[in-house]
């Protein structure tokens, strides 16, 4: 059991959990993730330590409320309560380099995963142009990015009915604009696979090297199950041990998009039942 030292709603649907997990805090590096289990009958889901204190032994997680598990976390987990499990750190640390100009893109909550990586790259002597594309109510970490980034751009657009399609349009337009203005040596992106793919199709036209953090569905996160398999360069890779970062030019995005949608009916059903149960409970 891992104590929740602090729980804080950052915006609607985005919650920060400061969790006591000395074994993870001691070792985690930018680019790595953890797999958590919050409830006895809960799922194992991957999330990313955003900040950590090795001595004090805690990590910060920022989680978007998306389906049943993350909704339950938002509703049921309390400060002083516990996560049942937090395994890791998992995956490969982000690569090291210096002297480059990097366009680091975070789409919606994907931004939080870019934070430790972009910070590290900055410290290693790179120029960081960071971009956050998000519906306006979900803007986060603005000051934190401004504090180290050479230029932090927030493309926040109104949250209307078409917000998901708008996300693609905004991501593509802002990326184009920043490539023209800043001429980066490399692009890095974390966010929904569909948006990553659309942005890649733009970056490709400029021939700029690009890395993507992939988010397939995971179960164990240790290479044991193969749920997270992705095709990269024509070969089957397990994102949890071979990734999560890959060369965008080699990734079969279309396959991954389909794989990620595989359980959507069951996920929706579980979410609806859950929402009904908590509404019933509140009466």
């Amino acid at each position: 059991m891992y104590k929740i030292l602090e729980k804080k709603g950052l915006t609607i649907n985005q919650t920060m959990y400061k969790v006591e997990a000395p074994h993870v805090a001691a070792k985690v590096q930018p680019g790595q993730f953890v797999v958590i289990r919050a409830f006895e009958n809960g799922e194992r889901i991957p999330v990313t330590p955003v900040r950590w204190d090795r001595e004090a032994g805690w990590v910060d997680l920022i989680v978007l409320t998306r389906g049943k598990t993350t909704k339950r976390m938002e509703v049921e987990l309390q400060e002083g309560g516990h996560l049942l499990d937090i395994a890791g750190p998992l995956g490969n640390p982000a690569v090291h380099f210096s002297g480059k100009k990097v366009l680091s893109i975070g789409i919606m909550t994907g931004l939080v995963e870019t934070l430790p990586i972009a910070k590290m790259w900055k410290e290693e002597g790179n120029t960081i142009i960071s971009l956050h594309v998000t519906p306006e109510p979900l803007v986060i970490l603005k000051e934190e990015f401004e504090s180290f980034s050479d230029r932090h751009v927030v493309d926040a657009y109104p949250m209307t009915e078409t917000w998901m399609q708008d996300m693609v349009t905004h991501a593509v337009e802002s990326t184009k604009k920043l490539i023209e203005e800043e001429k980066p040596d490399m692009v890095f992106i974390v966010g929904p696979t569909g948006v990553q793919y659309a942005v890649f199709n733009v970056v490709k036209e400029y021939g700029i090297p690009m890395e993507v953090d992939l988010h397939p569905i995971m179960v164990d996160g240790t290479g044991m199950c193969g749920a997270c398999r992705v095709t990269v360069g024509g070969e089957v890779k397990f994102a949890c041990v071979d990734g999560p970062a890959f060369d965008a030019y080699k990734v079969d995005f279309e396959e991954l998009i389909k794989r990620n949608g595989f359980y959507s009916k069951q996920e929706q059903y579980a979410m609806e039942l859950y929402l009904k149960s908590i509404q019933g409970g509140a009466q």
Binding site: D85, R229, V236, Y269
Partner: protein
Amino acid sequence: MGIDPKKLKRIPTPEQAPEERIHNFLEVNYGYDLESAQQEAFRCVKCPEEYAPCIKGCPVHIKIPLFIKQVEEGNIKEALRIIWMNNTLPAITGRVCPQEDQCEKDCVMGKIGDKINIGKLERFVADYARKTGIEEELLEEMIQSIEKKDQKVAIIGSGPAGLTAASELAKRGYQVTVFEALHEVGGVLVYGIPEFRLPNELVEHEVEKLKRLGVEFKLNYVVGRTVTIPELMEEYDAVFIASGAGTPRLLNIPGVNLGGVYTANEFLTRVNLMKAYKFPEYDTPVHVGKKVVIIGAGNTAMDAARTAKRLGADVYITYRRGEEDISAREEEVHHAREEGINFKLLLNPVEFIGDENGRVVKVKFEKMETLEERDSRGKRKIRGTGEYVELEADTVVIAIGKTAGKIIFQTTPGLEVDKRGTIVVDENLMTSIPGVFAGGDAIRGEATVILAMGDGRKAALAIHEYLQNKQ
């Protein structure tokens, strides 16, 4: 020798009826009660120890006639004491060993009648002792006799190899810590083998026993990431790698990443460890649909097939070889057939065919034929016929084995592995790094529970030896 004709037939063990059990995950076989166990024990001719073929056939050489004699006389405590000398997890091996290839293979009773049901007798001793408190008494005796030592041993992985080594080392007084990547202890015993064959509570019970022997468990520790072997070596006097053969093998054919194409590990983990069969009460989903095609015919394939059956599907086990080369335990094949699983032999998958949403809908196979010649593993060679067939499938489960995981190897400089990534050890199970031992599937590729346990025990003795000399 005038033998009582009643002695020729096996005393049966009751089972859940097939039409009932395909709707639940409860254990299929109920095992013996005291009376029927005594009757079965009475059938054994108690071959002399130095001759008994059953002892030779058991990989850990349990003194089978001796324990069976105690069962016959109703001394279950003595029977358990005898078994424990060689095997600390009889409730498990009694259920999952391929007895027909091991202890029961050359049982002399087989020459005139049915072989003795050694597996079920072993299981009976363990179950009876657990339920009646006999085991508790023996455990107390054991705990009292432990002389604590200061030396510390780290064990990586909590499958049968790790659990056995932990028990043997704890009994010898060492301070043992088991590091496990997952959130539950037991390895394949909990995430792979289904409840209807090996209830998880049995594994939990073994873990509780180990805790009482002083073994510490650290869950959610992925060795190589959370802590590395070189780091463990600073704190511990010896390390035992029992991390299994974690990585599932895939087929290198088109469509392998379609939705609905699972590895057996993923399918079984979702159902067994994450309890997807209780979705939506449990949050982890699994997709089954109406038709399920399993690829492979080992224990893993049978488990996946029977699990899919219990989730309501029509199930086809497909195998590229013929009947005689099916490698699963006899009992599982028999149970699978009783449960209405269809066997389609001599079919080699060549393509998974999907719909426009990337979901599998069909599997295309080449029909195979067997040749007289045998390969290095003694299996009949096969050859394609150039004829193809298709089977409809809402779900496919690939159960064609596993290879070693790479996290440990990649993060342990100086650890020698072979071409397939399996850890190389000497005759004492020591790896290329002094003080680091390995056993179980990590050194064998996918093998069996009892071989993993045998390694755990052997490694524990080797570690004991090594640490005594080190002082």
